[in-house]
């Protein structure tokens, strides 16, 4: 099956996932007002700042010939100086995120990617540098968005993900999106290191409504999404109260962890609107400046 047609069709299938994710993230991001990031002075940046006449000492290669050809004087094009801050983003792509309790709902992974990418879009537009987990070091620009989009579409095989903000750029901000249902030890360790480097950030928990309500009955074998864990019960409805209790404990533990390290914690359900979630997230990330 190496003929051109099948290669093309597979490539298109794979490629087709990027633009919608990026587009919906951008659409989501377009509704959020940009904060003040431009530094209103000349410097290294993407956006045009001003033309200024050529003075002694400027290199000839800096002359903007298009502007200069309009008159007798030579001009130099200056760009706006922008201060960029690094933002460390980590989105859980493990199998547990692939859960959706009904056909009408999006999976947790899908929602987490959308929110993560939307925040990335906003920040990149603001001229910030965004890193994604351990795979993409912080960079700026549209190209980084494309890379993040590509990296976000990959799924990971293990049951539960362990957060990883490896570059750990000191004094940067971080956003960790996950369901936090796995073991919390790696998170605790990561938070310890982050706090030591002055990184502040946000833990954002995305849950499916079924995980909040536990609407199961009868003899049931529960399996984790990748099949690694199993629990058999003869009467699922009898377990409901104890499950909810444990979930509440898990949330409380998460809050304690965050409070101890000065991070913020957010909770989102996949049946809620993504718009409000993004607003909250953006505000939380901005607040860390």
């Amino acid at each position: 099956m190496t003929d051109a047609a099948s290669l093309r069709s597979r490539a298109e299938t794979v490629a087709a996932a990027y633009p919608p994710l990026l587009a919906s993230a951008e659409r989501l991001a377009a509704n959020v007002q940009m904060g003040e990031h431009g530094r209103r002075r000349s410097g290294s940046g993407d956006a045009f700042w001003q033309y200024r006449p050529l003075v002694q000492g400027d290199e000839a290669r800096l002359i903007d010939w298009r502007r200069s050809a309009r008159g007798d004087e030579q001009f130099i094009k200056q760009r706006e100086w922008e201060v960029a801050q690094s933002m460390l983003l980590w989105v859980d792509q493990a199998a547990s995120m692939g859960f959706a309790s009904s056909d009408g709902l999006t999976t947790k992974a899908e929602r987490a990617r959308l929110l993560g990418l939307a925040v990335a879009v906003l920040l990149v537009r603001g001229g910030e540098r965004v890193a994604l987990g351990a795979s993409l070091p912080p960079r700026r620009g549209e190209a980084q968005l494309q890379r993040i989009t590509a990296a976000l579409t990959a799924d990971r095989p293990e049951d539960f993900g362990a957060p990883d903000l490896t570059p750990m750029v000191p004094n940067s901000r971080a956003l960790v999106i996950s369901d936090f249902l796995g073991d919390l030890a790696p998170l605790r360790e990561m938070l310890g290191k982050a706090v030591a480097r002055g990184i502040r950030g946000t833990l954002y928990q995305v849950l499916d409504p079924a995980e909040e309500e536990f609407p199961f009955r009868g003899r049931t074998i529960f399996e984790s999404m990748a099949g690694g864990l199993k629990h058999e019960t003869l009467q699922a409805d009898a377990l409901r109260d104890r499950y909810l209790q444990r979930l509440a404990e898990r949330k409380a533990e998460l809050h304690d962890l965050a409070a101890a390290s000065g991070w913020r914690v957010g909770l989102h359900h996949t049946n809620d609107a993504s718009q409000s979630a993004l607003l909250w997230l953006y505000e939380a990330v901005q607040g860390g400046v």
Partner: protein, 913 residues
Amino acid sequence: MFGALGFASPWLLFGLFALPLLWLLLRAVPPAPVRRRFPGVVLLLGLKDDEQQSDKTPWWLLLLRMLAVAALIVGLAGPVLNPDARQTGRGPLLVVLDATWGSAPDWRGRMARLDAMLAEAGRAGRPVAVMPLSAPSEVAFAPAATVRESLPGVVPAAWPPLMDAVPLPEGDFDTWWLSDGLDHAGRAELAARLAERGTLSVYETPSNPMALLPASFDGGVVTVPVRRLSPGPELPVTVQAIGPDPAGVERVLADGIATFASGGTEAELQMELPAELRARVQRFAIEGVRSAGGVTLTDDRLQRREVALIDGGRNRETIDLLSPLHYLRQALEPSADLLDGPLDEIIPANPDVIILADVARLAPAEEEKLLEWVKNGGQLVRFAGPRLAASDVARDAEDPLLPVRLRAGGRSVGGAMSWGDPKALAPFPEDSPFAGLPVSEEVSVTAQVVAQPDPTLADRVIAALDDGTPLVTRKEQGDGQVILFHVTANAEWSSLPLSGLFVQMLERLSISSLTERPSAEQLAGTTWQPVQVLDGFGRLSNGDTLQGVAGEMLFDAPLGPDLRPGLYEGENRRLSRNVLDEDAVLRPAQWPANVRPQPLVAPAAKPLGGLLLGLAAALLLVDMLATLALGGRLRGAAATLAALMLIAPQDGRAQDDALPEITEEQILAASEVTLANILTGDKALDDLALAAMRGLSDTLFDRTSVEPSEPRSVDIESDELSFYPLLYWPITPDQPRPSPQAYGKLNEYLRGGGMILFDTRDADTAALGASSRNAQVLRDLAAPLDIPGLEPVPSDHVLTRSFYLLQDFPGRYNSRDIWVEAAPEDAVQIEGMPFRDLNDGVTPVVIGGNDWASAWAVDERGYALRTIGRGYTGERQRELAFRFGVNLVMHVLTGNYKSDQVHVPALLDRLGQ
């Protein structure tokens, strides 16, 4: 044995003792769990259930399962109701079988019964022997077990039993005679011989054998007689006509029901098979009767015939509907093999019929050969026409290849230049081959060639007009005959070729020369090789390995192993010998007075095992549903079941769709002039093209007597094209290529006189031979189309003057590169005429790139949709574009009418005389 109930393997019933154990086992197993994927399982790990016992299996479910298992055990033990009773007798036992086609339908039952009887004889220790009378041979008595093993090798034969040559074994023996109930020669003598040697018991089944007699074909109706042995209640019988379909696969081509009247033994099926089907039928068979008697083979009498069609040279441009041979071809194609080619090549092929349409004079050598062919039994059918009328053939003396002498010039009635009404047909005379055909009133004759009065004329007329003028004449010539239709084979002179009567007349004529079954004298000295032979069950098998049969034997000798019923081949002919002749009668067997036939089958032993196993399966099914319901999973299963049920009726609807439906829209399109554009798949362009057709229709409505109805968009893949005189086809670069079927339809459309206006819409960029993307696409699209040679519109083309006088054909662009069918090379301008006498027909395609759609398109209120040019000049250009459209539609609808006006001076000149 328990009274009337017995068990084949009673020890299996001990399995019932295991049931209580099963009860305990089933109780212990809880219902199957549901598997769910759930990320929150982490939080569940370590949680214990409150009670260890899950929901118990309910007692009624357990009972259900126990019942199912009990039914299974009892069913496997093989319970039998009415086990076989014993028979009496001792000493050797000879079993004589008629083993003919009459016993074939219930052969399996007979053999099973015989097997059981032999088993009983074996238990009594009697040696037995089996002798089928259709293939009698020396027999030796053997133990019953040995004989039973050879029973499957005994099969019924397709011929009657050979009673006079039966070798009987030595000594005394009892005889069981399994009869087929039919009367066969020598039965009484054999019965007497057998009765001398011991007890003779005769067994008959209550079956009533049915048989088909050979089919006959007369007057368009195939008659298949059906017979049954003894009278009975009213009984409908389905008779099937079987033969290869066009793909060569054997299938039932037609069937009909023959009904035996109550108390009658004879029935008859009359089928009016279409000629196409009739030619394919290889045999008739009674549905559901596996017997050689229930099959009758057909032969040459129902086969296709070879017909050669020759016309007197056709015009280069003639379209299909005007071709002299078109209607003949249409009429004969389903029922005959048509040959094409020059006469001198066709005569050696020795066709059954040669049809000459408007051929006046033949080369002497051809005429000689043709005459020889006719005298050898050929059938020559000729049609008149302008050439024949203009020639002096058969003027003074009778031509051997024409039935009558002809008067010069012929006559025309009911035309514009003559008095009188078109003539209708007179009823056909009794001795005519057409006798009995209903005379259609819609047939009218406006012109014909006329026969010279002659003493022999009256005998030769087989159809005449209502004023007595001969229409069809015929004369014998040697073994063959010559037939002349005094009208043309196309619709020019009469409407006869348009009518269904024409097809029936041709059919009658072709049939009258079919080979009759030859007599023994005619067959003497020939040898016939079996091609396919019938076995007793009515199955056909290859006869290649059998010996040939002498011709005189073929129909007169009795059937036997050396002369089997089947299809025989020799000297280009195929003849069939059937099990029963045309005059065969079925008679019940006659037994000596002291022999009384007994029924073969005693009350049958009825095994109950299947019933019980079925019950077990049903119970297990209920159990499955109940288990699903308990597990809460029945809804999914029910949905699946419902989906399956929904699928079934849709199949039925698919079959209804096989026949093309005629929609209201199609009727409208056919009854009015309707312009149409071809869908390209580009929505905006398709809308524009439809709007353009609307604009053009409105213009035509306003300015001319053409009043088109609402235009339509057609899909060449699915829509019928023949309703539309003009199709507008804008070309887009990404247009999908039509399928081969669509190309077939387009070619048919073009051949039938339709026109397609191709518009590449790129005249601004692709002028003067420069090739654009659209032009390439057009080249690709048009390659498979049947398009004649093209040339740019010459200045004297009919398009330039069919309504408006035009020399330019602008649309949104104004390019002169418009291509139409090239004029014939021999067209010359006559002195004093303004135009050459050009194309006789309508050009099938007009190709240009002026984007007429943009110029023509208007919205619902009649306002132009697109801007053309600038200001007044632009409006002028739009006006010219509409004029071009009007000229185009006029050209399509009137053809060469305007071109004919070149003759106006000549006509005026003639009238002046």
